[in-house]
């Protein structure tokens, strides 16, 4: 079982283990939020881990034949089926261990996919896998669009973001739908563990992954992973932008353990969403009125979140 780390008031990178399972030298863009998130995820999981990776940025940057960035066993099959492949691996191990073909040991079976591979094309396979109760961890890194194919909108692209298929224009404000609430969809399957995380809070992320690994049954972790290329922001602002998402209450860090929801980071004073929106080129076209509209919706959602929380 993985040890969780004590959350320090100040981020101390050395608190994280030095071991690396997602190696340097991959083809991620400068400041790639997903690459950072994945690195932390696998530090937490350790070597007894098998990964099924959906087609995505993470797959493309890490496996250009004949090279690989992966130090744990890894398989890519297709776009929409990471959950099915991972649970097939889990079932295979379960049967082979029970039949004495393999020794009994604790292995983390992980599905890894982006927001589109999870919430759009992969939602059915994910739902089936969670409903069946396999002992696996689903990691969705959410960079809020199909970045790999050139920044096309997904069902998780936030309202107002300009992408190559939801461009802002004379009669368009960019994405005209609100972000699909995937953690809530996962929670509706009544699985033992659901959490949100962000690489700007690496110890929180690390601990949630370690918890997910220790819990038997399906676990779903949704990681907001800023993408400077697609979000149109300087690559050195990845961490900062992730923090602004959390500090504004646009993206909240929580976990749901056996149905009980709690914030793992409560922001004392939420900052305006404007700070977050103004930091990124994808929201450049938004008017003051648009920003007010988003602020109101975020306030409303945050109140609803607080009402859902279990007394701790």
């Amino acid at each position: 079982m993985m040890e969780t780390l004590e959350i320090k008031r100040v981020f101390v990178p050395r608190a994280l283990p030095l071991r690396e399972y997602f190696s340097p030298g991959h083809r991620g863009c400068q400041g790639c939020g997903p690459a950072l998130a994945i690195r932390h995820v696998f530090k937490a999981l350790g070597p007894n881990t098998i990964v099924a990776n959906a087609t995505s940025c993470s797959e493309i940057i890490s496996s250009p034949y004949p090279q690989t960035a992966w130090k744990v066993p890894w398989i890519h099959v297709a776009f929409e089926n990471a959950a099915a492949v991972a649970t097939g691996i889990e079932a295979g191990y379960k049967a082979m261990m029970r039949k004495g073909k393999l020794p009994q040991e604790k292995i983390n079976f992980v599905a890894l996919a982006g927001d589109g591979g999870t919430g759009d094309i992969g939602l059915q396979a994910l739902s089936g896998a969670m409903e069946r109760g396999h002992d696996f961890i689903y990691i969705c890194y959410d960079n809020e669009a199909y970045m790999n194919t050139g920044i096309q909108r997904s069902g998780l692209t936030p309202f107002g973001a300009s992408t190559t298929t939801s461009p802002a224009g004379k009669v368009s404000k960019g994405q005209n739908t609100w972000k699909k609430d995937l953690p809530a969809i996962a929670a509706a399957h009544h699985i033992p563990y659901v959490a949100t995380a962000c690489p700007s809070y690496p110890i929180d992320l690390y601990n949630k992954v370690a918890k997910a690994a220790a819990i038997e049954g399906p676990a779903y972790i949704h990681i907001l992973a800023p993408c400077p290329t697609g979000w149109r922001c300087p690559s050195e602002l990845t961490i900062e932008v992730g923090r602004m998402a959390v500090e504004s209450g646009l993206f909240n860090l929580f976990e749901i353990v056996n149905g009980k929801k709690r914030l793992t980071l409560r922001v004392p004073q939420r900052r305006p969403v404007k700070d977050y929106l103004k930091a990124q080129g994808r929201f450049r076209h938004l008017t003051e009125e648009d920003i007010r509209f988003i602020q109101e919706k975020v306030d409303e959602d945050y109140q609803l979140l607080l009402e859902e929380l279990e007394e701790v």
């Binding site: 098998i50 034949y65 090279q67 992966w70 066993p73 097939g88 079932a91």
Partner: protein, 391 residues
């Protein structure tokens, strides 16, 4: 000793898969495959088979689970038909490219539209180029045997390809046939446990399914093509070993009264039984007619089929699938292509018949042969003909 019992052919398939002691089954219900997976569910529920039965939410996930389980090193089985197979299509190609020995039973059924649940071979033919070893079965015994043999073929280290065995939906899958069952000891002596050289193992990490750029893809594809072609002698060797042990021999192309025949019928699957009776009738009437059964669809047995038609004047190919807007019957097109470079080759007449469960009667086989002979003597052979269609 072998037990000879009357069994529904789907059940015979499930019994064979149970004897093969699979580790993982992932399947989704679709007519006419359902009896296979229902019986396997029972086998698992009753403890007759120690396997994980994954009740997936689609065929796409069924095959994806099988790919994952097989990559983990498990012996893996699925079954489907028709729309289920084409929903799997994306993963069909990938299972082959990853060289994973998944075994699938297909109760062959028509593809929509119009929607129909009845049988033909249009689903198999839609997956012609996906890189699976594809075997047609003729009767219940054949299905039972191939359902065991398929694992041995697929898992042989000289092979390592997913393997699909095809039984005609309803016409074969739902009929009760006499089947000689084998004991667990007999099956174990033929089918050793699956021991993959490479699998997803944290103690020996590896990367499976890396993506390629144009600088590698063609080399990898050529390797796959050559590897699939090179499985033909291994398949023949394994079928031969099965014959030596259990007395039933199988060939890529099997011949019935074909030696010296002027006219040959070529057909795949269960309808070859009807064709055989038609051949007997025509022989009684003094016609020099024989029958070829195509058992192995991929890898295509080019040389075996060339040898089998050598000396014939006419081959009448009966396809239960149609390449819409193309060359008509897929088997006929493949045969023509195989024969093209031969200096002396028989005429090929292509009939598309028996689509979507429509029966082909004995006298209709006779009629097709007569029509084909008429085309030949008139010196005018059509590209293909849809047989038995009301005008």
């Amino acid at each position: 000793m072998a037990r000879r019992v009357g069994l529904e052919v789907s059940i015979a398939c499930s019994e064979a898969v149970t004897l093969a002691n699979v580790d993982v089954i992932a399947a989704y219900p679709i007519t006419p495959q359902t009896h296979i997976v229902e019986h396997l569910s029972e086998q698992v529920a009753e403890g007759h088979l120690d396997a994980e039965y994954i009740k997936v939410e689609s065929e796409h996930s069924a095959l994806s689970c099988c790919v994952g389980a097989s990559a983990a090193g498990a012996r893996t089985f699925t079954a489907t038909a028709s729309q289920g197979l084409i929903l799997m299509s994306e993963i069909m190609y990938i299972a082959s490219g990853l060289r994973l020995p998944v075994v699938m039973a297909l109760a062959t059924r028509t593809l929509s539209s119009p929607l129909t649940i009845w049988g033909d071979q249009s689903d198999v033919m839609s997956q012609r180029d996906c890189g699976w070893i594809t075997i047609f079965c003729e009767n219940g015994q054949d299905v039972f045997d191939q359902s065991i043999i398929a694992f041995r073929i697929a898992e042989d280290r000289r092979v390592l390809f997913p393997t699909m065995i095809c039984m005609d939906g309803f016409h074969l899958s739902h009929v009760i046939e006499p089947v000689e069952l084998l004991s667990q000891e007999e099956v174990d002596s033929f089918l050793p446990p699956y021991k993959p050289e490479y699998r997803l193992d944290p103690h020996r990490p590896l990367t499976m399914g890396a993506f390629t750029m144009p600088d590698y893809f063609m080399e990898i594809k050529k390797q796959q093509d050559e590897a699939l072609k090179s499985t033909l002698p291994v398949i023949k060797e394994i079928w031969n070993e099965w014959g030596n042990r259990f007395g039933r021999y199988y060939q890529p192309v099997s011949c019935y009264k074909a030696e010296g025949a002027e006219t040959l019928i070529l057909i795949a699957g269960g309808f070859s039984g009807t064709a055989q009776i038609a051949v007997d009738r025509m022989r009684e009437q003094g016609k020099n007619v024989g029958l070829l059964r195509l058992k192995l669809w991929r890898p295509f047995p080019h040389q075996e089929i060339r040898d089998a038609v050598k000396g014939a004047k006419l081959v009448v190919v009966v396809d239960r699938a149609l390449s819409v807007g193309g060359q008509g019957g897929p088997i006929a097109a493949e045969l023509r292509s195989s024969l093209y470079h031969l200096k002396k080759r028989p005429a090929v007449v292509s009939f598309v018949a028996g689509l979507s469960g429509r029966d082909i009667h004995i006298d209709q086989f006779v009629e097709m042969v007569e029509r084909a002979e008429g085309h030949l003597s008139a010196g005018k052979i059509p590209d293909y003909e849809m047989f038995g269609v009301r005008e």
